[in-house]
């Protein structure tokens, strides 16, 4: 899977170009997120190109969230309606910030 990585100020913006994050790409996704989460930067995960994410994909995000927590956290942005529902289903909206777009997310990370 391709993940576009853009440093913006002190934030790494990660944008997966993968319409479907499921068990077939979850391991790769988990490793990629894990590597970036271990860096000393805050993470912004831009899901605008993702149409569906299953629970293994969510699991990878949870793992990245835990690791990134030490460095200022991880913010999700631009999820589709379906993806947002899946975050809510797993109650991940309770522990992660979810912004509607990159600007809102960057603003959240700067505070």
């Amino acid at each position: 899977m391709h993940i576009d990585v853009q440093p913006r100020d002190h934030v790494l913006v990660l944008k997966p170009y993968e319409p479907r994050i499921d068990s077939h790409v979850a391991v790769e996704f988990r490793h990629a997120l894990g590597d970036h989460a271990a860096s000393s930067r805050r993470l912004l995960l831009d899901l605008s190109e993702v149409e569906f994410i299953d629970s293994s994909g969510l699991g990878a995000i949870v793992a990245a969230h835990r690791r990134a927590h030490e460095h200022g956290g991880l913010v999700i942005c631009a999820p589709s309606e379906v993806v947002l529902r899946l975050f809510r289903l797993a109650r991940l909206d309770r522990i992660m910030q979810i912004a509607k777009d990159v600007d809102e997310a960057l603003s959240a990370l700067s505070t």
């Binding site: 479907r20 077939h24 299953d54 699991g59 949870v62 529902r85 809510r88 289903l89 309770r94 522990i95």
Partner: protein
């Protein structure tokens, strides 16, 4: 009639021809019989769908409160004739098709039944949908779009054989797929605790996804003004998911996963003998419940912003405990997906849900192991445990120190070797209303089934005696009798069945009775032909048609009637002839894994074979087991019955609805004081029904005291001894190698838990009265007419009115007001505030 869907014969004929070419791609003359049925159905469907859209617009425009009826079963039967009759287009269609050389009745009779149910519970749901649409209630059914309905039954060597019922394998015009409204249903996985939240904390991860694709079956109300829908969900794998695997080349894996997902809506009630079967059943229940709840909430939010108003705009009725997970699912959706707090979500849930209990049989009360729920629905188990925790606190505060009561009322029963979730308790705690389905049943729910709950919340319990839709079960299945009623009373009874009371004076009118008897005889001739073709038993239409047609179950006591028939046969062999010849007709399906019920079918067929072969008996009695009992067969058997056997052990049948259908069509009831039989007796009058046997109280006392001793009865009553001893030899088993000695042993040594021997002498004596009365056709007909006249109470319209008034709080159409046209406002009766 709406100008967009003209209903004159010519327009109907043209529409049929148009669909022959445009939908089926053939000229009319080249169509097979099945394709002709399809062309007529498509032409009818287009007339229905316009009305369905108009109905939906009306509900949205008026912001009407909706009723969602959640049921694992909907025994809909055939659709074409019922839809045409309710549209008021039956006669027009007959005329239009006659021009094409087609007999519409024959064509409609070739339609496959939608047998998405086992018996009474599913048929009740279907009757309620009809009544809601006819009363202008925005009522929607929610269920499963089973690929295979209830099995088709054939009889082979006297044994039941089952064949799959692929009712829609060749397509059906009656389902409108709504792929764009599919919902995602998560299941399995685990709760992962990321932070230090409380008992409801953690995150549901590792789930699989099922996709629920809705299919709408239109439900046409009487007069065609209101067309609601039954929304049935098919389980599908996510298409994208399969494509992803497919693209990687693992086609077989893609197919396996797809099939596994689609198994969920494959078969009605899979055998639940092993853990895998039980899990599939649980997934089925959750699947359709989750689909329904998601759909209901989404539809509500289309026109409303605040979920706090949900109970004012939606009533959800749980038909038995199969959809009881709605309590947890609605809580989950409100809390997890819409961010409400516990108290707000609980208030909405309990004010929206209502629960109908259907059984007093302890073994039929659903329980799921907590371990299974944890594996399949971990988040829901968390919620259920929290509901139970809070409820336990409430019980403790109300009844301090009464630990035994707390344990009895617990939702999660921790008294056994593994914790079990009692679904009835969950449904009661999560609902604002709990109703039984007949007066006696509702009393027994309160006094015997869940007395602790009744003690805590007496106001929550109520009775709603079942009813049947007279549009299918009189006007549709017995059109000649319906026409006779029209002649006598006018047609208003079709809108208000209580008007049948006006028929009472006709019971004393000899010429009316003649007409009544003539119609009954014609119905019996028609059934005799079916019996000869399917059961291969010739029966005389002049004989007394004594019918027991219902699911085969020990508590319903087909065995009691069978042993009674054996008694009559032995009497004949002893030279004592009955007052009239009799045809004893049985029909019904046994659950494939129910050994005793299957044996009873074999026993009945063995009796039939012996009598058929015995020239001393066959002029006086015939016995037939009519195979493959289903809605469309019931529509033939019920109008032809003289005597309706409703002989369950008192206290065990919740209500019954077959009893109502038979009496409505002029059969006299031979019944125990059980279920709705009691109310039928009260309505038709004690002198117009044959009541016999132990009462529910007497049965309960025997059970409590252990005072019932069937062997003593055997020794004291010569008739019983003679009947049971006849099972010792090979009278009924010669040649087949199957012996029925086990029946005698089970009755005498197994305690006879259904009190068959206790009631058999009374059945025999009462049947003698039946025979003597039948020997006088006009005396019989007088009582039969009075039965028809006094069955108005048992219309499902009355039942739905009561639900609407007491539980759902929705207005219903005022039948006293003149019927309006499609564009007029409806006169509604508001429920009391």
């Amino acid at each position: 009639m709406d100008e967009t869907d003209p209903g004159d014969p010519e327009s109907l004929r043209d529409a049929v021809l148009r669909h022959a070419r445009g939908t089926l791609g053939r000229e009319w003359d080249d169509l097979s019989p099945r394709e002709r049925l399809a062309a007529v159905s498509w032409a009818t469907r287009e007339r229905i769908l316009g009305r369905m859209l108009a109905t939906e617009r009306r509900w949205r425009r008026t912001d009407a409160k909706r009723v969602a009826y959640l049921s694992m079963e909907f025994l809909m039967g055939r659709s074409l004739e019922n839809n045409l009759r309710n549209l008021g287009l039956w006669d027009e269609c007959r005329a239009g098709l006659a021009e094409l050389g087609v007999d519409v009745e024959e064509l409609a009779a070739s339609e496959a039944d939608a047998a998405l149910g086992n018996g009474g519970l599913g048929r009740l749901a279907a009757c309620f949908l009809d009544a809601m649409a006819s009363l202008d209630v925005p009522g929607y059914g929610y269920g499963i779009n089973y690929e295979y309905g209830l099995f088709r039954q054939s009889i082979d060597g006297g044994w039941q054989r089952e064949r799959p019922d692929a009712w829609r394998a060749l397509g059906t015009p009656w389902l409108v797929e709504r792929a764009d409204e599919a919902v995602v249903v998560p299941l399995r996985g685990h709760i992962e605790h990321v932070d230090g939240e409380g008992p409801l904390g953690g995150h549901w991860l590792g789930w699989d996804v099922l996709v629920g694709v809705p299919h709408d079956m239109p439900v046409v109300g009487h007069g065609g003004r209101t067309v609601n829908a039954l929304r049935l969900y098919s389980a599908r794998a996510s298409d994208e998911f399969d494509i992803a695997i497919f693209n990687e080349g693992d086609y077989l894996e893609a197919v396996r996963r797809k099939m596994e997902s689609e198994t969920v809506s494959k078969v009605l009630y899979p055998p639940d003998g092993d853990e895998r079967g039980r899990e599939l059943r649980l997934v089925q229940e959750y699947f359709f419940t989750s689909c329904a709840i998601q759909d209901i909430v989404k539809a509500y939010l289309r026109d409303h912003d605040d979920l706090a108003g949900l109970p004012d705009k939606v009533a959800i009725q749980l038909n038995d405990t199969h959809p009881a997970l709605a309590v947890a699912e609605l809580m989950r959706v409100l809390m997890d997906e819409h961010g409400l707090g516990w108290d707000a979500a609980w208030s909405i849930t309990t004010r929206t849900l209502a629960y109908t209990n259907h059984t007093l049989l302890p073994e039929a009360l659903e329980c799921w192991s907590a371990a299974l729920l944890r594996r399949v629905l971990p988040r829901h188990l968390q919620i259920v445990e929290h509901i139970d925790h809070r409820f336990q606190g409430e019980v403790g505060a109300r009844f301090p120190g009464d630990e035994a009561r707390r344990a009895r009322m617990a939702i999660v029963d921790r008294g056994g070797h593994e914790p079990m979730v009692r679904m009835a308790h969950l449904a009661i705690v999560g609902s604002h209303s709990v109703n039984g389905v007949a007066r006696l049943h509702s009393e027994l729910v309160k006094s015997q089934l869940v007395p602790d709950f009744h003690g805590m919340w007496p106001e929550r319990f109520n009775n709603k005696t079942n009813g049947v839709t007279h549009r299918r079960w009189l006007a549709g299945c017995n059109p000649e009798l319906a026409a006779l009623l029209d002649d006598a009373l006018g047609t208003a009874w079709r809108d208000d069945l209580t008007l049948l009371r006006g028929l009472e004076p006709f019971a004393d009118d000899a010429s009316f009775r003649e007409d009544f008897l003539r119609i009954k005889h014609a119905n019996k001739e028609r059934l005799a032909t079916i019996v000869e073709h399917t059961a291969h038993v010739p029966i005389d239409p002049c004989s007394l048609f004594d019918v027991q047609a219902k699911r085969i179950h020990e508590y319903k006591r087909q065995l009691l009637m069978a042993l009674g028939v054996v008694h009559e046969y032995l009497e004949l062999l002893d030279g004592r002839t009955p007052p009239v010849p009799r045809s004893s007709l049985f029909a019904g399906k046994a659950a494939p894994g129910y050994w005793a019920a299957r044996q009873h079918i074999k026993f009945i067929n063995s009796i039939a074979r012996v009598i058929d072969a015995d020239p001393r008996a066959r002029d006086w009695m015939r016995v037939a087991f009519v195979p493959d009992y289903r809605v469309s067969l019931a529509e033939r058997m019920i109008p032809a019955a003289d005597l309706s056997e409703q002989i369950s052990t008192a206290g065990m049948e919740a209500s019954g609805t077959g009893n109502m259908k038979f009496a409505l069509n002029g059969a006299l009831t031979l019944g125990t004081l059980d279920g709705a039989n009691i109310e039928i007796r009260d309505e038709v009058g004690e002198e117009n029904i044959f009541i016999f046997g132990l009462t529910a109280d007497e049965v309960a006392q025997h059970r409590e005291r252990g005072s019932y001793r069937p062997r003593e009865l055997y020794e004291q009553v010569p008739e019983l001894r003679r009947v049971l001893d006849a099972l010792d030899g090979d009278l009924f088993s010669s040649g087949s190698g199957t012996h029925f000695r086990w029946i005698k042993d089970a009755l005498l040594d197994g305690g006879d838990p259904f009190f068959v021997l206790a009631d058999l002498p009374a059945w025999i004596v009462t049947q003698q009265r039946v025979g003597r009365l039948f020997a006088d056709p006009h005396a019989w007909a007088r009582k039969a007419v009075l039965n028809v006249a006094r069955m108005g109470f048992f219309s499902s319209d009355r039942t739905v009115r009561e639900y609407a008034r007491d539980i759902w709080h929705v207005p219903v159409r005022d039948v006293q007001a003149p019927r309006s046209s499609c564009s007029d406002p409806i006169t509604l009766v508001e429920p009391p505030s």
